[in-house]
Amino acid sequence: MNKAVPKNENREPLVRIARRDSVSPGKKIGIRAASIVLALILDALFIVVVTGLNPLAVYAEIFKATFGTGLRFMWMLRDMAALLCIGVALAPAFKMRFWNIGAEGQVLMGGFATAMCMMFLGQKLPTPVLFLVMVIASLAAGALWSFFPAFFKANWNTNETLFTLMMNYVAIQIVAYATNILRGQASSLGTINMGSKIGWFPKLFGYDFTLNILIVAVLTAAMYVYLKYTKHGYEIAVVGESEKTARYAGIDVKKVTIRTLLLSGAICGLCGFIIVAGNKHTISTNTAGGDGFTAIIVAWLAKFNTFYMALISFLLIFLEKGAGQIASTYGLNEYISDIISGIILFCILGSEFFLNYRMIWRHREEKGGAAE
């Protein structure tokens, strides 16, 4: 034996990582709580060292950004609803391992269809009919935008990631073109039906955005049931896991692919409707505002479980609002406030690792060299 033997030949590695089989609920809560505590400590250090502010006061501001007033809370819910809605829309596609990253464009097309209905049909149709037309138009527009990539994928196995991504730019250009035509050189259409408020969501229970939130809450629950308890949901799971298995089970993979993507795109379109009719009352290339991409993170982190998606969208929006609030209250550089909220996000997401894996530290150093 003239082999080179590693120098540390008789030492167990310092730490080994092993997968956990299951975690007790108590431990889960413990790990999550520890991650939040760690985040607060790290953030406190950062705040003191970099800004010289009192960390507790900063935390209070972050908290107040969402929970300070009823109105702020509604704003948070409104933004959370928009993000969650897209996440819900992506869930069936992602579960089928169809990487639909075209939500941004699908939302935009839904919003565009809604805005056009508000502008051109607003005066002509009675309100209930107008809303019906707006919903149908937005569903159809979103579904159309996801139909093309799905159709090509199902028939010729094209790459859906590139295809859906490119469709975003087409949607953006269409909206830019339309606003240009309708409003000269302006980049936005301005508020549609400002005076008459035709096609706007009505106030419910005293708030502007109650309807947005209710629609998304119903969608979230419905999608959960759809994925978990229906035949369609079962087919989606099988196709996502293995197309071969699906084929052997007699599932029509083409049909399921197209049907699922139509649903995904349609809900994205509906989200555009909610954003335009229920919040912004205008259309611009910025209407989706990047939520179509953020929602990919939401859907992934939640492993396509729509209720977890609600929690994650809440966390993201809560931190976003908090970062904005401390930036304005203390006159902080935006990047600093983003770092502060980023540290919290990092720790909370990082705790997932410790939920799935455990560390085994070296425990038998005393045995060194005991070769019989």
Partner: protein, 535 residues
């Protein structure tokens, strides 16, 4: 003989599963050691510990007499331990040489002397008579060549302790013989060779000593010359067993399937089935023999509706109780055919790729072929759960619960789920392909028993198998396919291995003889001959 590796008290647990319990074992230079055990007995885990993939919970490893720590595959390589895994770890678009040096530090800084690498690879190939070229791309290689490349890879890195994990599972008998010859050469060179397997005749023909594991525990080591198939099986299973497959006489034969002039075109435009004609009866087991890739899979897929046959093909199904109203299966969807009671369970190489959804539990997998029943929009989960519980109990599937992902079950249990589901559907025709692929003896016999039970119930069983001995012992009639044609249908009770072997290669031999004549089409003539053999 010098000890290459000594393991003392190795224990490794995964969650609640104790894969290895206090195992002590010696591997010597200049010998071939077989590591024998049923599925899930901990063979692979133990060898993965040696190759640095797992780290033991406790126990010591001595290499060449010194205690060592193997914390990574690199440590294992540095100690001269090379493992050839069951699933190849190769980059398809790279050449053989590129795969071999992947991850190795360069000889001289910043320069890669590909020519020197290729020369060294060639030298190794010449030494052992390997038929791979260093500049050949992996995607152009056959399965056996890929395996050879894996062996060259570890030899190139200077390994003198070789571990082969079920190397013969993917090889033809001829390729297996070649591999064994190579192993004997290595032994002559003073290398230590470990082969993990559960094929007893291989153990007996190639190894010097056999170490047996059972349920994670070390049972013992015997010299191969003192061992017999029966003695090894008893050590492996832990109780007396009989290695006879029962074959009840077929009763009440009823014609269930009649295939006539079946032609199927492959994806490359080459016919994969030519004028195949045969009948299958309820109450018998019809075996299908042939070298792999001779149309077995396409034949079953055509009957199951997964492949569209060419015009003129006919597959007639005679439903139970309604034999006078036969149904034509060609042109029906897979779902319709399944609902008529014609079921297919195909066990692919990777076991999970077709037929099972890896991340789902047994219960959800049970409904894979029945979930669409009923008009409700929602799936019905109670019945599949009951079926799963029944299959679990009757086939002794080892799983914590019926909702435990099947991905985490051992290979044998996965196959039981696969076959159990088809049987639970109470089919009229049950087609199984490679039902015992990679299974240990105990489980294999259980599956033969299940198939016999089906036969006694009057089911027409079609069994595609690889092991000729089993086909001859189990089947009532054996249909032999060669290059997509039926070269004979023989009586299982009178067939010999040699006779079937000749039919399996008939067309290749005739082709050799007729090559200069150009297009000779022996198809039709051969299938009539096959039919005649049956009468």
């Amino acid at each position: 003989m010098e000890d290459a590796i000594r393991l003392v008290g190795i224990t490794k647990t995964f969650g609640q599963v104790r894969a290895n319990r206090d195992i002590s074992l010696t591997i010597r230079r200049g010998e071939i050691l077989s590591l024998l055990g049923e599925n899930g007995s901990g063979k692979t885990t133990l060898m993965n510990i040696l190759s640095g993939i797992y780290f033991p919970d406790s126990g010591q490893v001595f290499v060449g007499g010194r205690e060592v720590t193997i914390a990574s595959p690199k440590d294992a390589f540095d100690l001269g331990i090379g493992m050839i895994h069951q699933h190849f770890k190769l980059v398809d678009v790279f050449t053989a040489a590129e795969n071999i040096i992947l991850g190795l530090p360069g000889e001289r800084r910043g320069r890669l002397d590909m020519k020197a690498v290729e020369d060294k690879v060639r030298k190794i190939c010449d030494r052992y008579g390997f038929d791979i070229e260093p500049d050949q791309k992996v995607y152009e290689m056959t399965v056996s060549q890929k395996q050879t490349l894996e062996i060259v890879k570890v030899l190139y890195r200077g390994a003198d302790i070789l571990i082969l994990d079920e190397p013969t599972a993917v090889l033809t008998p001829q390729e297996t013989e070649k591999l064994f010859a190579v192993m004997r050469e290595m032994k002559k060179d003073g290398h230590a060779v470990v082969i993990i397997t559960h094929k007893l005749h291989e153990v007996l023909s190639v190894s010097d000593r056999v170490s047996i594991l059972r349920k994670g525990e070390y049972i013992g080591t015997v010299d191969t010359k003192d061992a017999t198939e029966l003695s090894l099986t008893e050590m492996m299973v832990g109780k007396k067993v009989t290695l006879d497959i029962e074959r009840p006489a077929p009763e009440n034969l009823v014609k269930r399937i009649e295939v006539k002039d079946l032609n199927v075109m492959g994806p490359e435009g080459v016919p994969v089935l030519k004028n195949v004609s045969f009948e299958a009866f309820g109450g018998e087991i019809l075996g299908i023999a042939g070298i792999s890739g001779c149309g077995q899979k396409e034949l079953l897929e055509a009957v199951a509706g997964l492949t569209v046959p060419m015009a003129g093909s006919s597959i007639t199904f005679f439903p139970p109780e309604k034999e006078d109203r036969p149904e034509q299966l060609v042109g029906r969807s897979p779902r319709e055919i399944k609902e008529m009671g014609v079921h297919l369970s195909f066990v692919p190489e990777d076991r999970l790729g077709m037929g099972l959804v890896a991340s789902m539990g047994m219960a959800d997998n049970m409904m894979l072929k029945s979930y669409e029943k009923g008009s409700s929009f929602f799936v019905e989960k109670k019945n599949p759960r009951e079926v799963a519980e029944k299959v679990k109990e009757e086939l002794a599937v080892v799983t914590p619960s019926v909702s435990y992902p099947v991905r985490r079950l051992s290979g044998g249990n996965v196959q039981k789920v696969l076959v159990g589901r088809e049987i639970a559907a109470a089919p009229a025709v049950l087609m199984t392909a490679y039902a015992v692929r990679g299974l240990d003896i105990g489980t294999s016999y259980q599956i033969y028993h299940l198939l016999n039970e089906q036969k006694k119930k009057g089911v027409a069983v079609i069994y595609v198998g690889e092991d000729l001995d089993v086909l001859i012992d189990l089947c009532d009639r054996i249909l032999v396919l060669c290059a997509g044609q039926v070269t004979g249908i023989v009586d299982g009770r009178q067939a010999t291995k040699e006779g079937i072997g000749l039919l399996m290669t008939k067309i290749a031999r005739e082709d050799d003889g007729h090559r200069h004549l150009g297009h000779t089409e022996p198809g039709s003539e051969n299938s009539t001959e096959g039919g005649a053999a049956h009468e």
